[in-house]
């Protein structure tokens, strides 16, 4: 189990390691820089320094996980990923500040097509219904095999793999994970639609929609596996690792498509980016804009709908206390 925990943290470290490669060539640590800066000595140095901090944090975390006594393992297993994320965040921000003086302002004219025709979603958008079918199929499977479900089954495990929380064969206990996953998927569909209709037309927007649908599948598969686990006895480590099977190819494809896009960078004003991460521009009608720190889109926090969607996310997460309890 310690080795699985180490592997998960190393994977997380690898994702953080790749952050400088997950942005457009003209961005480095969320700072818009001249095209040649990334390959320059200063650019390479910034990337090396960022990665050195991540590597040190992962190494320290792995050592802690391997050497810590069993009675402290639970606490250490929770603290290590938080510490790695924190180290990554601080290191990113430091490099962002260091490169800020070299920032350039992207300027290019913006165009709007004068077509009043309603905007249409791409054809593949219907795939967003698939995860709900997966969840419904899992629910049907559980319903048909209700008698085979153990009266009491484990739903939470210690880092040593020992169960520490159980659920009973009740409607809530059995269907709770599926209901929660359905909520998450519905939220992702809402986000995907808001992203499509609330951002500027671009090819990146299509990639973002595809990415959101892929994450929706990931959620549905993960929770469907969790829900049927008491019946099929799927090993817990397999459930924990299975999202990676979707996540890695998804990240590779999205990084490839978004780091070398066929369209120029959206010329959002530099002064509207707080720490290179948060976009706040009351004079921009867009709800979503292209991120600067990595691939994907982020909210325009000056748009009130961004807060409505965040509230929806908070409510879905909070509902876990009732649905999964």
């Amino acid at each position: 189990m310690r080795l699985v925990l180490c592997a998960v943290n190393v994977f997380m470290g690898a994702l953080l390691f790749a952050i400088p490669n997950m942005a457009r060539r003209e961005l480095l640590f969320a700072v818009p820089v001249p095209p040649d800066l990334r390959e320059s000595r200063a650019g390479r140095h910034a990337i090396s320094m960022f990665r050195a901090v991540i590597a040190a944090a992962v190494l320290a975390g792995v050592c802690a996980l391997l050497l810590t006594p069993p009675e402290l393992l639970n606490a250490v297993a929770t603290a290590v990923p938080v510490a790695i994320l924190l180290a990554g965040g601080i290191s990113f921000y430091r490099q962002n500040r260091k490169l800020a003086p070299a920032a350039v302002q992207f300027t290019r004219p913006r165009e709007a097509e004068l077509s009043a025709a309603p905007e249409e979603l791409p054809r593949f958008a219907w795939l967003a219904a698939g995860p709900f079918v997966i969840l419904a199929a899992a629910a049907r499977f559980l319903y048909l095999n209700w008698e085979r479900i153990p009266p009491r089954f484990p739903v939470h495990f210690e880092t040593g793999g020992q169960p520490n929380r159980w659920a009973e064969r009740t409607t809530k206990g059995v269907y709770g994970p599926l209901l929660f996953a359905a909520e998450l998927c519905a939220l992702f569909v809402a986000m995907a639609l808001a992203g499509w209709f609330g951002s500027r037309r671009s090819r990146s927007r299509t990639v973002m929609l595809g990415g959101m649908i892929a994450i929706e599948y990931l959620m549905a598969l993960l929770f469907a596996l969790i829900a049927v686990q008491p019946l099929l006895g799927i090993p817990v480590w397999m459930i924990a690792v299975s999202p990676i099977a979707i996540l890695i190819p998804l990240l590779i494809v999205m990084t490839k498509k978004m780091s070398e896009p066929s369209e120029p960078m959206d010329p959002t004003p530099n002064e509207c980016w707080k720490g290179g991460i948060f976009y706040y521009n009351p004079n921009d009608a867009a709800l979503f804009v292209e991120k600067r720190e990595e691939l994907g889109y982020t909210f325009n926090f000056a748009n009130r709908w961004s807060w409505v969607l965040l509230l929806g996310l908070a409510l879905v997460i909070a509902s876990a206390l009732f649905v999964l309890a």
């Binding site: 009043a116 037309r201 959206d266 009608a285």
Partner: protein, 133 residues
């Protein structure tokens, strides 16, 4: 091949207020006949999003053109191009003002390094388009 739909363009770095750039771009399309009566324009929201400006900026440009008689505003959102009777103005002061603005623009272009021949060619092409529309 499908004809390309008309587009408007603004340059945030130009220093010219966005509302004026939007109104001017639309007026050019209207005068040149690329937007004919009955054409429905996109909603204020859509244009504002594409151009990265506030809704009110686009709404104000639409209002200006509606006041000039080019557009009929629909519930304050989209707009429809309407047939506009050209006002019969024979005002020397207006003509003089127009000439001064044109001269100022030509001077600005020359100061930016655009040759006199190129400017003259642009003006000739524009004059042709004006007489056709």
């Amino acid at each position: 091949m499908m004809a390309q739909r008309p587009r408007i363009r603004i340059d945030p770095a130009s220093g010219v207020p966005a509302v004026r750039q939007i109104a001017d771009s639309l007026r050019v399309l209207l005068v040149e006949g690329q937007l004919v009566p009955g054409t429905e324009l996109p909603s204020v929201r859509r244009i504002a999003m594409e151009l990265g400006v506030h809704f009110n900026t686009v709404a104000e440009a639409y209002r200006q053109l509606a006041a000039e008689g080019w557009l009929d505003l629909k519930h304050g959102r989209g707009a429809v191009v309407v047939a506009r009777a050209v006002p019969a103005v024979n005002n020397r002061a207006r003509t003089e003002d127009f000439r001064n603005r044109l001269r100022g623009m030509v001077a600005q272009m020359r100061s930016q390094g655009i040759s006199a021949d190129r400017i003259a060619a642009e003006l000739r092409a524009m004059a042709k388009r004006v007489t056709r529309s």
